[in-house]
Symmetry: C2
Subunit: 321 residues, 2 copies
Amino acid sequence: LLPERQFIERIRRLAGKGGRGRVIRGIGDDCAILQVPQGRQLLATTDLCVENVHFRRKWHPARSAGHRCLARGLSDIAAMGGDPLACFLSLGVSQELPQGWVDEFLRGFLDLARRYRVPLAGGDTSAAQQITADILLLGTIPSNPAVLRSGARPGEQIFVTGKLGGSAAVLKRLYAGEKVGSGAARNHFYPEPRLEIGRQLRQAKLATAMIDLSDGLSVDLAHVCRESRVSALIEASAIPVASSATLDLGLHGGEDCELMFTARPGAKMPGRIAGVPITLIGKIESRSSGRFPVQIRDKQGHIKTLEARGWQHFGKNITSR
Amino acid sequence: LLPERQFIERIRRLAGKGGRGRVIRGIGDDCAILQVPQGRQLLATTDLCVENVHFRRKWHPARSAGHRCLARGLSDIAAMGGDPLACFLSLGVSQELPQGWVDEFLRGFLDLARRYRVPLAGGDTSAAQQITADILLLGTIPSNPAVLRSGARPGEQIFVTGKLGGSAAVLKRLYAGEKVGSGAARNHFYPEPRLEIGRQLRQAKLATAMIDLSDGLSVDLAHVCRESRVSALIEASAIPVASSATLDLGLHGGEDCELMFTARPGAKMPGRIAGVPITLIGKIESRSSGRFPVQIRDKQGHIKTLEARGWQHFGKNITSR
């Protein structure tokens, strides 16, 4: 690994210039200075990615790890219907890590950043035993309204973007010891944040609540129910399961970068947005105290509780689950 | 350790509400939503703190570790002359870590946050072998001018706030196996970010360049010289060394949360700002190619190169240095 100062200089050079007019001062001072366009509010989110928890060096090419770290943050901006403004990277690595790995990680990160015109405006570095990458994403939205998790109301419909479970299906194969090439399984190795969909849903005022399905539908729908103080009933037969996945992976597998959102009963929902299919999977109901907030009707018509079995970081991780 | 959802709920509860009017939506959605006051620019900085690199559990009470993590970020805001807006905490911990440690860490963090009215508006959590805390600090400044590292010009004077080397002196005692109580050595365990000084220097347009001395004077003065394309000559006899420290620690020891800044030759510099002494330590000279940018005149009048021997994260850390 390069000594710290050269290391930071290298990141600065790879990051290049960008965000003209928004980034007044990028890497190289105590703080970055940014201009938030007038009349817009600021969005901020952090995503902490740790080796062997969020990716494995044996499974994920460094370039995919870099891409996935940034995609998580961009997906959070998408779920608010926002536009990215700038990103920051805090990177902890051990001295034994080959510089080539870090360079490829940065390439995956910066390729995605450039595609969405998100300048890397700063960050920090430290020694660390596990590779640790904390991504800070800043974005903006018009002052009103952002699409929150808390906006769902009884009677509304629940939609998801794209197909679910594809990323988890790849993870399952990796666990089983299979070699999975990153070219053939882009939804796992290079997932696409749904920024354009989020933006269009907000602009058209089609979504009343929205969340990105980073932890899996069962967990993230429960989040929306809790924040909105409602419950939900979804239809097993309606879940758009990826062709490589099972219903179980579609319900509980996260990290597809897809969005879930709710809409008023009469809303005219297009079948696709930005080329991605939009699928109705259920409806919001009023909160029933004591009952778990998410129910699912199986293919035989039986209604059951949908346990939140998606991603939980403590107690299990990518190695042990 | 509590399961992740309860863990986040606990942070949310401890953080409480704050930043009324600035934090439109805090913890609990995909992103926080913030309001940047009109006519102001945004500051952003991240500081990655890793166990055994930036603190040791054996040496630092959890409360001190939490305080120190946030103080590093606040000190970066101070060095721009800015006002803090909100902070974010990405926290990686292992399941074996006692919840009590995390609670005390959060207490140290949040006590300091409350004192400077900086709401905790979001973050992330993950499993991690080493305790890892990445702090994101957002701040604001009037649209013009921030005090950058690049503003120093030949002929200007160099000042520092407070006393230097006190934090490093404590660290040295800890290395030597001494027990050092956190009450008796607050400059190391609970350093005070110089927000009020930074703000006053910016408002009075007294500082032409500024940096916080997190890595030590020898390293941070070299940063300013590089960004400003100048060199510097400082006087060994003028360095305000803490009573517990040596000149060497004053020159190379970081983490005092003090500021270094430059000012025009005729500037009327107060002897104290916000109760803290301001000391003239040298002057900025034009850049001489090939020569190391920082020179020091020792007490015998000999001018020597001042090597940047302060904090470097890779290759050594709090354990090995």
